[in-house]
């Protein structure tokens, strides 16, 4: 017997609604609880009828503001360093065919499989020796190591999407190689690179292990939350911390929508 098509459609929409709820409900609940007055939260009311920013303010007093700024600083520095170092490599991988190209590419992919935990112990000792422990620059250097393979591979694929002869046209009509890169390649790659940059920022923003072991007084936001904010017995303050962490991620989602599927499938590889 054939199932009528409207029943199939209904089942599909029901299933998708469940999936969407599964993702959105916890997100919404944590966000709402971050703004729920204490007396309401500790009552039996499931949802509050009024909201308050007092938990966010408390968090600020505890030092979340500085931690937020530090995280932004480390993230921006990581994006800057990893693009400065990785962009030329990505360009080379996309543009030149040379012996050893696949080997180098595989080598870069191979470094991606080692989590930051693996390098953190050694880096921590080295940074102690160099006086880079508890510094944001040290953390950005570590995050750059984590982000660099991604940046090389993703920029490689972005440049690979730009036709070679569009660049050659630039050469023929009077630009130098550097001129072509700056005035033809870069403008064409810009939207993709911007999305890749945002994603790199998020990699750093979300990283907690290295941040927690490397910094002590200069904690970034995730480290601050893991060590300090989580020690507070007042639960909604923890949710306010979660909200602070989530915010840039959601903004990123909004800006990078167009590149979402391709980029993340790439990022995962």
């Amino acid at each position: 017997m054939r199932v009528p098509s409207w029943a199939g459609e209904l089942a599909r929409y029901a299933f998708l609604s469940l999936l969407v709820a599964w993702v959105l409900v916890p997100l919404a609940i944590a966000t709402i609880y971050a703004f729920t007055p204490l007396e309401v939260y500790y009552s039996d009311a499931i949802l509050p009828n009024s909201l308050t920013a007092e938990h966010l303010r408390t968090l600020w007093v505890l030092g979340a503001g500085e931690a937020f700024v530090r995280s932004v600083f480390v993230g921006v520095l990581t994006v800057f360093l990893s693009f400065l170092i990785g962009l030329p490599g990505g360009y080379a991988l996309s543009r030149y065919v040379f012996p050893g190209r696949d080997a180098i590419k595989l080598g870069i992919i191979a470094t991606r499989m080692f989590p930051i935990i693996v390098i953190s112990v050694s880096l921590l000792k080295t940074f102690f020796a160099l006086g880079l422990n508890d510094t944001l620059i040290g953390l950005a250097l570590a995050h750059t190591a984590m982000a660099l393979p991604f940046v090389v591979l993703i920029t490689g694929s972005i440049f690979g999407g730009i036709p070679r002869d569009v660049e050659e046209a630039g050469l023929v009509f009077g630009l130098s190689s550097i001129g072509v890169f700056l005035r033809v390649t870069l403008p064409l790659a810009a939207p993709g690179l911007a999305a890749a940059g945002l994603f790199t920022f998020l990699l750093s923003w979300n990283e907690v292990f290295m941040a927690s072991v490397l910094t002590l007084t200069n904690r970034t936001l995730p480290a601050f939350i893991l060590v300090s904010a989580f020690a507070t017995p007042t639960e909604p303050i923890r949710f306010a911390a979660a909200f602070l962490m989530i915010l840039p991620a959601l903004l990123f989602m909004l800006f990078a929508r167009r590149y979402l599927v391709t980029m993340w499938a790439m990022a995962a590889r």
């Binding site: 569009v166 050659e168 023929v172 009509f173 009077g174 130098s176 190689s177 001129g179």
Partner: protein, 354 residues
């Protein structure tokens, strides 16, 4: 404007040799077409003229100036790419203006020159659009406008019409020819289409296996092909080539003979074009049986098998011969002046007309 000299150009890509010593002179203001099958090295030659590839050996000279080691930007060339290679992030106006802006031309002059080029190619109404908003034919015109706007010494075209439909191609090829005449620019034009080559080229360089096989006017290439490759590559259907023997001035072929062939002895290859075959007339006549008739309306392509000789010959006849039936016996003939003699080992032409 400038002449172009290529001297002993060798280019290798890894183990494959793309060009094995190309020598070519393009005269000042001349339209030179590089013609050949794919992989013959014609595009590589063009890219070496542009400076997009560097030769492994040999020199590139523009009007007495050695440009072998100069990057493209210092050569004053312009190019129309096969894919057009318009800059997708720029409007049509900016695409055409960009080469001028790079050369730091003053902005009122830029506007004047862009308008001039756009008028010439009838694309004034498209200047505000982005390339992706244009049809293939329009993109092609923009690419040409961009190439002529700087009044380059050398204009290069890499199969510029290969992405256009048949009707547009015929229209554009004569327009390009007129444009080149009008501007008097030295042009190198790459194509694999022999008709395009004949229409556009003042001279045509036929290439194969990374070498220039013959350079000459369309008439020379057609009437006096330098070897069997050129002979069979040019013309459609391709030239008939059959085995023959010359002994004491007597050429024997296709079960018949013709006297007075001087200067060559021994085994040879004999060529004659399908369109030069006539039925029942000619200096050399041979009996044949009709195998197959393709009626094209204006012309008829007739496949003939020559009795006893085991050779197949193709004839292109007037439409009046459409009544020929398979199995019918005919007497086919060729004039002496239409017979070409080639060396069977090297393929080199020994005699045009016997």
């Amino acid at each position: 404007m400038a002449s172009i000299m290529l001297e002993g150009i060798v280019k290798r890509f890894g183990k494959t040799v793309a060009l094995r010593g190309v020598n070519l002179e393009v005269r000042d203001g001349e339209a030179m077409v590089l013609l050949g099958p794919s992989g013959c090295g014609k595009t590589t030659t063009l890219r070496i003229v542009a400076g997009l590839e560097r030769p492994d050996e040999g020199r590139v000279v523009f009007g007495g100036r050695d440009v072998t080691n100069l990057p493209p930007k210092d050569r004053n060339v312009a190019m129309v790419f096969q894919s057009y290679a318009l800059w997708p992030h720029m409007r049509v106006f900016d695409n055409i203006a960009f080469p001028l802006k790079i050369r730091k031309v003053e902005s009122s002059e830029v506007r004047r020159r862009v308008r001039w080029a756009a008028e010439l190619l009838e694309i004034e109404h498209l200047l505000d659009r982005y390339p992706h908003q244009l049809s293939g034919g329009q993109q092609q015109r923009v690419a040409v406008a961009r190439a002529i706007v700087t009044e380059p010494e050398v204009l290069l075209m890499d199969e510029p019409l290969s992405n256009l439909d048949a009707i547009l191609r015929v229209k554009m090829r004569s327009e390009i020819k007129k444009l080149q005449r009008r501007l008097g620019v030295t042009m190198v034009y790459v194509t694999h289409d022999q008709v395009e080559a004949m229409v556009i080229g003042d001279r045509v360089a036929v290439m194969n296996y990374g070498e220039v096989q013959q350079v000459g006017s369309p008439q020379e290439i057609y009437n006096e092909p330098a070897n069997t490759f050129v002979a069979t590559f040019i013309g459609s259907p391709q030239m008939n080539i059959v085995k023959g023997v010359i002994s004491g001035g007597l050429l024997s072929l296709l079960g018949t003979q013709i006297e007075g062939v001087e200067g060559v002895e021994g085994e040879v290859l004999v060529g004659f074009r399908p369109e030069r075959i006539v039925i029942g007339d000619g200096d050399l006549k041979f009996p044949a049986i009709v195998d197959f008739v393709e009626d094209l309306g204006s012309d008829v392509i007739v496949h003939l098998s020559v009795e006893g000789a085991g050779e197949l010959v193709i004839a292109k006849l007037r439409g009046a011969h459409a009544s020929l039936k398979p199995g019918e016996k005919v007497l086919a003939g060729v004039m002496r002046s239409d017979i070409h003699i080639f060396d069977p080992k090297t393929g080199r032409a020994l005699k045009h007309g016997v």
